[in-house]
């Protein structure tokens, strides 16, 4: 009985998976590099992020200082490397927070429907057309600069996007045989939602979290650019850009390097998110 004829093999699904495009490989490599710098930046950077050297002063890029220095003689190269940590932590927290809220609300609204669904979707619609970042600017301005507040506010502002997607996916899954089977077995709703539906929509919601990460990175750096995020003097890309904006004639690299890193990181995450989304959206559905 244990011997199964090798000739009766289940037909293998034809692998139509296209080769990973070269841009995606580059994007993944870039994110890996930034993650490495976020973890080990202090050891990689040639100088400290806050080491002021007025003797060197403001210089343009040289061999010793690849991106030159800012007006306090701080090494822009080292600051950019060490800034990777601040650039990644906030967006990571925001993407994670929005992922949690979006999944809980979206699953519940999509599965239960009715009043709960109507209420949640009204809230989502309202938030969609909201110039959210402006509200955060006003709130933080009035309440006082706080990184934590910025992160929390951005979680609240990004979760509607997750909620809408999760709800749509849940609506599609709700009537599929495996959900009905689970319901027939009398499993509790929470178990059906989190053990059965959640894993099936996870690929798409994960792709969405990547897109969320990119948006949050841009939003947080905008807040630091306006002086409303991380405190002055910290190695943060948005902050560095704001402080070096006036040095554009003396050492353009001091402003362009952090700017380029914001754009490259956000673009990489957007590309990865879009790519995952295209690849996984059909798979999540076809089951």
């Amino acid at each position: 009985m244990t011997q199964i004829s090798p000739t009766v093999r289940a037909p293998r699904r034809r692998s139509r998976r296209a080769r990973t495009p070269i841009v995606i490989i580059l994007a993944l490599a870039f994110i890996a590099l930034i993650t490495f710098l976020a973890l080990f930046g202090e050891w990689v950077a040639p100088r400290g992020a806050t080491t002021v050297n007025l003797e060197v002063g403001l210089i343009t890029p040289t061999g010793d200082y690849p991106f030159g220095t800012d007006d306090l003689g701080r090494d822009v190269f080292s600051r950019t490397i060490i800034g990777a940590r601040n650039a990644l932590i906030g967006p990571l927290l925001i993407a994670l927070g929005a992922f949690l809220i979006g999944n809980i609300l979206g699953l519940a609204a999509g599965y239960r429907g009715g009043l709960l669904d109507a209420t949640v979707m009204r809230w989502v619609d309202l938030m969609y057309a909201f110039p959210g970042l402006l509200v955060v600017i006003v709130l933080i301005g009035v309440l006082g600069s706080s990184y934590l507040l910025a992160v929390v506010a951005l979680v609240v502002l990004s979760s509607p996007f997750d909620t809408r997607i999760v709800r749509g996916l849940t609506l599609e899954q709700r009537h599929l045989p495996y959900v009905e089977a689970a319901r027939t077995l009398g499993l509790p709703v929470r178990r059906i939602l989190f053990r059965h539906i959640f894993p099936n929509i996870l690929p798409v919601t994960f792709a969405n979290a990547c897109l969320n990460f990119a948006v949050s990175l841009v939003a947080l750096s905008a807040l630091s650019f306006l002086g409303l995020g991380i405190g002055p003097g910290s190695a943060d890309w948005g902050r560095m850009l704001a402080e070096s904006r006036t040095l554009l004639f003396d050492n353009p690299a001091a402003a362009l390097a952090p700017g380029a890193l914001i754009v490259l990181t956000a673009t990489s995450m957007n590309l990865i998110g879009d790519w995952l989304y295209d690849r996984l959206a059909d798979r999540g559905r076809a089951r």
Binding site: G141, V142, L143, V218, L241
Partner: protein
């Protein structure tokens, strides 16, 4: 569509707008109480005040009245366009806003036109040349535009066109119409870049869906000229998601304008907001926030009316025929 149905629709929506504005105004008024420290401190901003000034302020803003009475008094002022005076400059909030709004409006309109022409044009181009070189190029531009925050785009444009090439002025707003437009070009292009990226996305997706429909195949089979197939048949149907995108576009442009005015040191509404926020100029922040809220709500209304104009099906479902 007859005018009466449309008027009733707009009338119904305007009532909703008033209710929403009341909610927003309540939130805006509460800003004063959200600020850390006492309300007088918030109203005094960073100034040092004697005991008498504090008493005067409590008197003037009715701070000893109950919260809702204070709100009602403030709202009455707002209804007669009296938003109070700025703590920072001492001028009336309304006239400060009026002064600064010209620049922001000019930049916004400039950027909006550029974003619309570029976004829809390139979006159509990408859809026609689906998966070919031009499509890939356009899609790359839109990914980049969606990822680049306006202040980074602004600094790069400044570096290339103002510092290296010296074609455009780096800062300032210029005098006279031509010179002002000249000064506004870089900021407006910065704002338009992100907006165009958004519109390209929606136009391309909408056109691709529309071009896939049977009526397009039939129209081509009937020998309808290609131009008419694209613009009359496909684009008209692709416009619905584009109208949806325009609300997102507005939210993006409002935030973008703030960042760009700071980047280019332009004295517009956005810069006024950032300065007032930094100075804790509560009356000014209240006025600006209420204005922004009103603009966002009105644009949503306009979008809904546009849906009706673009799509007869929505017209029918709303009972506007």
């Amino acid at each position: 569509m007859n005018g009466r149905g449309l008027l009733i629709f707009i009338g119904r929506r305007l009532i909703a707008v008033v209710v929403l504005l009341l909610i927003v105004s309540f939130g805006v008024f509460s800003l004063l109480y959200l600020a850390p420290g006492s309300t007088e401190d918030a109203l005094l901003g960073n100034r040092i005040a004697s005991e008498q000034t504090r008493i005067d302020i409590r008197e003037r803003y009715n701070l000893d009245e109950p919260f809702l009475t204070q709100y009602a008094t403030w709202l009455k002022g707002v209804a007669t366009l009296d938003f109070g005076t700025s703590i920072r400059t001492g001028e009336p909030v309304l006239s400060a806003i009026a002064d600064r709004s010209q620049l922001t409006l000019a930049m916004g309109a400039y950027a909006f036109v550029v974003a619309f022409v570029m976004g829809i044009g390139l979006g159509i181009l990408a859809a026609i040349r689906n998966r070919k070189g031009a499509d890939r190029a356009v899609v790359s531009i839109s990914v980049l535009g969606a990822s680049a925050p306006p202040f980074v785009t602004g600094v790069f444009l400044l570096y290339v066109f103002a510092v290296e090439l010296d074609w455009f002025p780096a800062f300032g707003q210029g005098e006279g119409l031509a010179d002002s437009l000249w000064h506004l070009t870089l900021p407006a292009l910065t704002l338009a870049f992100g907006g165009a990226a958004l519109l390209i996305r929606f136009t391309r997706a909408g056109m691709l869906t529309a071009l896939d429909q049977d009526y397009i195949t039939f129209a081509r089979a009937r020998g309808v000229p290609e131009r008419r197939v694209l613009l009359g048949y496909a684009l008209r149907n692709a416009m619905i998601p584009v109208v949806t995108a325009s609300t997102l576009l507005l939210a993006f442009m409002l935030t973008g304008a703030v960042l760009i005015e700071v980047t280019f040191a332009l004295p517009g509404l956005g810069a006024l907001l950032v300065d007032s926020v930094a100075f804790k100029d509560v009356p000014m922040v209240q006025g600006l926030t209420l204005l922004l809220g009103a603009v966002a709500i009105l644009v949503n209304l306009i979008t809904d009316v546009l849906y009706l104009l673009v799509d007869p099906r929505i017209r029918a479902s709303q009972g506007v025929t």
